[in-house]
């Protein structure tokens, strides 16, 4: 392990110890937060007993569907938009201001459109993630060297073939950047929607536990979500670095 990684572990350990100490001394009372070791124990109990498995499975599978849709539709849209300059320039202001708009405000509309099942939640996760994928993929496609496009033309590749075999592989690290955002956004969308209105899922369970002062359920579930999102994000970042390193960047 490098020196910096050691420091990083030390900083995290110190933070956890500090929380433990604050809980022990009573600066943070039990109703506000359980000490970290209790949270970990409760998390293990929840995972072993399996009583939250349905909720965990529902949230994670919905988030994966939203992420998959956002990635697929986002990349496809970006490839099409890249070919139509005028359309792209018209949509540019929308992309630039999109993340300043509270997408959750559209949740009621989606419920009426798609019914009160999983679909509106997936819809919110998708809507949050898709623009990040489009913007980053476009950014990657802009950087494809002219010579590669020319090569594709010389090989008489069609539009779809060019995208699949030449331009998208070149843009892969940028698509990955978009995918990283999409992971975070699809989780935010699904969990936020579950908080607002739903009949299950981790967001629902967390808010249910909150309303019942059930910290033994609430904190472990929150920690689980954080661990899942940070691990996926770190994994994708590693992959992105690997791709860039292979190109000598």
């Amino acid at each position: 392990m490098s020196r910096i990684a050691v420091y990083r572990v030390l900083v995290i350990a110190a933070a956890v110890l500090l929380l433990e100490l604050l809980c022990y001394v009573g600066v943070i009372d039990r109703i506000t937060m359980q000490p970290p070791h209790r949270i970990l124990r409760d998390l293990a109990l929840i995972l072993i007993s399996g009583k939250q498995n349905a909720a965990i499975l529902k949230t994670l599978s919905n988030a994966s569907i939203a992420f998959g849709l956002a990635l697929f539709v986002g990349v496809a849209t970006a490839v099409v938009l890249h070919g139509y300059r005028a359309l792209r320039e018209t949509l540019d202001p929308l992309f630039a201001t999109y993340y300043a708009i509270p997408v959750f405000a559209f949740y009621p509309l989606l419920i009426v459109l798609l019914g009160l099942g999983d679909a509106p939640q997936i819809g919110i996760g998708f809507m949050l993630g898709v623009v990040a994928v489009i913007v980053n993929t476009l950014n990657g496609l802009d950087r494809v060297p002219r010579v590669l496009r020319k090569t594709a033309r010389i090989q008489r590749l069609g539009t779809i073939e060019t995208a699949l075999t030449v331009t998208l592989p070149y843009a892969a690290p940028y698509v990955l950047t978009g995918a990283k955002f999409a992971v975070a956004y699809s989780l935010i969308g699904i969990i936020g929607a579950e908080f607002i209105m739903s009949r299950g899922g981790m967001g629902y369970e967390i808010s249910f536990a909150y309303n019942n002062f059930d910290n033994a359920t609430m904190y472990p579930l929150i920690v689980l979500i954080l661990v899942v999102s940070i691990s996926i994000n770190t994994g994708l970042s590693r992959w992105e670095k690997l791709l860039l390193a292979r190109r000598g960047q």
Binding site: I4, Y7, R8, V11, I12, I31, T32, M33, E89, T90, L91, D92, P93, L94, A96, T97, Y99, A100, I101, P102, F104, A105, F106, Y107, P108, L109, I111, V112, L113, K180, V183, A184, L187, I188, I191, G192, F195, I196, M197, G203, I206, S207, A209, Y210, M218, Y219, I222, I225, L226, S229, I230, N233, T234, S237
Partner: protein, 249 residues
């Protein structure tokens, strides 16, 4: 008006016209259950804006947002400059900041509610945690990318640390810092509104949440319209300043 400005104004107009047309078409498709057509919504919004209650909610939201944004910018600048100057701490803390940036912060809202109680402080905290990290990360990168010759020049002139920041580092890093501010602005606004949706009894987010609960379609649409118009206008303005700064400095 320059030709570029003409073009972007035309693009914005085409986009707005397109969105209005899509809205009207969606209304014809969905009907009165979930939507109101653009004209009716604008009329309702105009009427809403004459009520005292609306201005009470708006001023509550603006206050919370202003405080949250100030905290996010101040803390973000301190963290960004602090880490930017100290290479080792930047190496240790930057990946942690990126990881925290990617977590779905919406899951943390019950913790903030337990820590701050229902009301203004919780909303402000929720807004601020969304904004701090982008400001810090952009500032950190800006400070790190300042040309060494500028710092050397400052040293040759015998500047103290504060003089150095005020007259060399801050101006040199300004365009990037402004980009961070722009992103932080959007995220803090969303954070504040989300905080109000879950953790408040006043404010536009609360108004929206009650409208969702009562299925008051006019009110949902009016509040959403106002939020979208406000967020889009301000971010378009900030984006214009951002691009100008990047071209001129």
């Amino acid at each position: 008006m320059s030709s570029a400005a003409m073009k972007s104004a035309r693009n914005a107009l085409v986009l707005i016209a397109g969105l209005l047309a899509a809205w009207q078409a969606l209304y014809w498709f969905v009907g009165d259950a979930a939507l109101r057509p653009p004209l009716v919504t604008v009329q309702y919004t105009a009427r809403l804006m004459t009520t005292d209650a609306f201005w009470m909610h708006l001023s509550e939201t603006l206050q919370a947002f202003a405080v949250a944004l100030s905290i996010a910018v101040a803390a973000g600048l301190v963290i960004g400059f602090g880490l930017g100057f100290h290479k080792l701490s930047a190496q240790v803390f930057e990946p942690m900041l990126v990881a925290v940036y990617s977590i779905p912060k919406i899951t943390l809202y019950p913790i903030l509610l337990l820590a701050f109680g229902l009301g203004m402080p919780a909303k402000i905290a929720f807004g601020a945690i969304h904004g701090i990290i982008p400001v810090a990360l952009f500032t950190l990168n800006a400070v790190r990318n300042i040309k060494p010759i500028l710092v050397k020049t400052g040293r040759v002139h015998g500047l103290g640390p504060f003089e150095m920041i005020r007259s060399i580092l801050f101006p040199a890093a300004l365009p990037e810092i402004f980009t961070g501010f722009r992103v932080g602005f959007a995220l803090t606004l969303i954070g504040t509104l989300l905080g109000e949706m879950f953790a408040a009894q006043r404010g536009l987010g609360y108004l929206l949440m009650t409208a969702i609960g009562l299925h008051n379609v006019e009110l949902i649409m009016a509040v959403t319209l106002l939020l979208v118009v406000f967020a889009a206008t301000v971010s378009a303005g900030l984006l214009a300043i951002d691009r100008w700064l990047h071209r001129h400095i």
